[in-house]
Structure formats: structure tokens, C-alpha cells
Amino acid sequence: MTEPILKVNSVTKCFGGLTAVDDVSFSVEKGEIVGLIGPNGAGKTTLFNVISGYYAPTKGSVVFQGNDISGKPPYHLAGVGIGRTFQVVKPFAGLTVLENVTIASFLKHPKKADAERHAWQVLETTGLADRAHLSAAGLTLAGRKRLEISKALALDPSFLLLDEVVAGLNPTEADRTVELIMKLKAQGLTILIVEHIMRVIMNISDRLVVLNFGKKIAEGTPAEVSSDPHVVQAYFGEEAA
């Protein structure tokens, strides 16, 4: 077996007295889609922020492609191939959709004309090309989530962190996003995804990591995890388990 692309080694993240992520370890193999699930407040987004460099871990380390990246700033991680989206979307509201994506394209295409050309290609992949000249502020929620993905993709990442890109979309929009994610996987991208919608996460993930109160309570294929008593207990309470 080859070296995993991402290794999370006993990562702990505390905010004052609160331990948001508690001694979590797992790894992601190249080409996999790994789903990160758990009830609200389980620490999923905090863990995402640790992996993408927004927080330094209190303890433990994050290893990406063999290099320790814990505590490295996000703009450095973007450079080594980690792209991420935000659960609370962060469009550059005063700029057009094309400009939003072009800014991300600058990472690999320093010339403006090249970056714009690259941004167009990304927008065609994600289906936003027809809205390229609109202001990002004018997009619907579905559009803005798509813009998040477009910006992350424009970095030409090898590893993609998707934070709730499906939640809040209607079923048709959700299906289109799932289709897009599967297309990206087929292109060889490795993906770590946080998602609340079980229908989606169970279908697209190769493996799942389940968090509850900051601790990892289960890991395995969707089938294994969904029958795990700890997981059922975390989601449905004592009696159901």
C-alpha cells in the first residue's frame, strides 16, 4: 500500500477550556472520497480548519504527502495542493464570478490572460460559465456553493476539502453537485467531505470517519458505520442503540 496522501495524527484542538477536537487520527488514501460526519458541534469544521491551516493544532500533527503541515498558514497549503471550501460561503461579493475564480487561478497561472482562460475552463466544469460576468453577490445559494467549489478547483489541487457543499440545496441542485464531485473523483482528486445529508454522504464516500463531541467514534465503509452501535447512539440517542 502506498503512503496515504493525508495523515491526521492524534490531533487535538482546544479553545480555552473547550476541547473541540480530541485526539483524532485517521488517514486518507490517494483517490479516495472520505466523508467526515457527526452531529452538530462534533468538531468537523474545526478539524477542517486545522487541516487547511486556519488553526494550528493544540497537540498532534497533520502530514500531507509526507510533509508535516501542522500550523502552516492556509496560503502555503493552497500552494502545496490543498483546496478548500467554506461552510459559510465566502464569495468576493463585490467582484464578478469570473474575477472570483481568476484570483484562485493566479496560484498556478501567474499571467492574467492565462488565469482568466483557466478560470473559464473551471467555470465550464462547474456549470457557472453562463453567470461568469454576474456579480458574485447576485448568485443564489446554490450558485454561491458552486462558486466555492470553482474557486477551490481553480487552485488545481490534489486534495479537496469540501465543507457542506450540498446542504441547503434543493434535490435537483444537490444531484448536480454530487455528479460534479463524482466527476472530480474520476479525474483523480482526493476528497475529504463534511456533509449532513446522509443520502449524499453514504452514496459518495468510500469511507467514513464519525466524530462526536470532538472524538472519533467510528471509521469504516458506509455500511459498517451505519450499523455501528456507537454511531446509532450518537445520532439517535440511548434507546435506539
Partner: protein, 333 residues
Amino acid sequence: MKTSRGAAILAIITAALLILPLVVHDTFVLRVLTEGIMWIGLAIAFDVIAGYTGYLNFGHGAFFGIGAYTIGILMMQAHLPFWVALPLGGVAAALTALIAGIPTLRLKGAYFAIATWALSRAIQQLALNVEFTGGPDGMRLEAFLNPLFFYYLMLITVGAIFLVLWYLLERAPFGLKLKAIREDEEGAKALGLNPTMLKMQSFILSAIPTGILGGIYAYWITFIDPSSTLGDLVSDQAVVMVVFGGMGTLFGPALGAILIFAFKTIFWAYLSDFQLLYLIILGALIAISVIFIPNGLWGTLVKRKAVARPQEKPEPASEPAALSAVAVPEEGN
């Protein structure tokens, strides 16, 4: 097509300004024009950090004053020639931006405005209290009374500033990166942008031309003191011009500078009995423009055009291109 028409208009304006002194021999007019051109330069330099990057710098005047004093001190005390001293005025302003930027660029919004304002007050107090600046008495420079020389020097300098800023902010990726910082610093980080670095570059890029203009001003006016060059005036006026004209563009601040400066000049030259009214009208104008045209004059004009255009002819590029998937549509810019 749109850009070539803009370039043609600019070329005509430049040509007119170049030949103007051959036609107009009135020193007063020449003097007003020289100062007006200077304000265009100060306003667009201010807009680099304020409009493009989103950091309202109320200490912009400090760069101007430091440039002015650097030239004054170097010429009068170190006896350097003007052409050697002038670039050093830009260097001094850049160093000030570097040192001031380290603590202040961590702040945001009103806090940044307050900190830069306080810092510029501190610099003014310093100039009042040390020996080598001449303290409150100011400093007299060797007089070089050639209005034509200063008119052309100001015109060429501001023209060069405009071209450099236009290239960096509108043509090169740098401008778009600054706007990303303005819109969302955290989001920009995820896209590989280092906000600390970009903000610092922007601050320095704003400081250099301001320091150089301060230097030219000092040599031109031949007398500088802490209140004329290090006071609130430069910062406040730059804020007003940029907000009124339109932030985050180059033409907006230039337009704002021309209109506000013209308004001010007319008032001071012909209606000097009503000076109080000037400030009242200016204040009202700013309040009205902030409320009714938050994008400034230029921003409002451009937006109105942009809204009108797609209805005339819809964007042709994307739909067929999306189907063929490989073809790249020609950029609409």
C-alpha cells in the same frame, strides 16, 4: 473597443495639458492647474490602499509630509541636488509605510483609520518638536521660481504614477488580489494569497508616489511647516475626493480630485467672503454622495452603463462554449 476609446480620450486630455502653458500665460491659472494635478496624484495613490485594498488610511498626509521634509532636509542641510533628493522622498515614505504598517495593518475598518490618524498626528508633533525640521517655524527651501518647470514636472510625475498604478492595478494580477483582500481576507488565504504581504505591498505602493509628490510640493512652494504638509488636510481631502469620485478605481479618484479641487478653488478665489459656506457645502455634498451614490460618481456612471449593456446584446460567449467544453470563449474584458 471601450478601452481604445478611453485611451483616445486620455491621450487628448494629456495633449491638451501638454500644450496648455503655450496658450495660457496666466501664472495663477498655471498654479491652480499644477496643484490640481498634484491632487489627482494624491487621490489615486490614496485609493491604492483605501479603495483597492479596503483600508481607509487617515494618515495619508504623513507620507506627503515626510516626502516634503525629506527633500527639504536633504537639500538644505545635506546640500543634495533636487533630483537626488526627490527619489529619496519616496524611499522615506516607503520606509514609513513599512514601519507603520507592521502594527496598523493588523487592524481593520475604523480601528485602522483611527490608528493611522493617530500615527500621523504623532509624526506631526515630532516635526514640531525636533530641531532639524525647524519646529513650528517650518523650513524654507532654496527658491526656484519657475512655474512652467513645476507644471510640467507635476504633470509628468502624476502621468507616470497613473500609468504605473493603472498597469499594476488594472492590468496585472496585483489589483485583483488586493480586491480579494478587501472583500474577504480569510477567504483569500484559502486561495493562496498572503494578506499580510499584499497589504504591506499596497501600503508601500500608496506611500511612494505620495512622498514624491510631497517632495515636489516642497520645492515648488519653497516653504513647508508641520501644519501645511503634515496636518489633516491632505488625508481629509484625499478621503473626500476618493469617496466622492468612486473608490477602487483610478478614474473615480481622478474625477473626484478634479471636481472637489475646482470647487474649492472657485470658492477661495471668487467667494472668499463665504469660506464658512465652503465647508458646509462640502460636508453636505459628502453626506449626500455617501447616502445616494455609495459607489461614488464614477462607480455610479460605470454601473449604469453595465446594467444597460446586457439588455442591448446578451453575452454571446458561454453557452456554445460550455457544450464544446474545450473551446475557450474570448474574454469579455
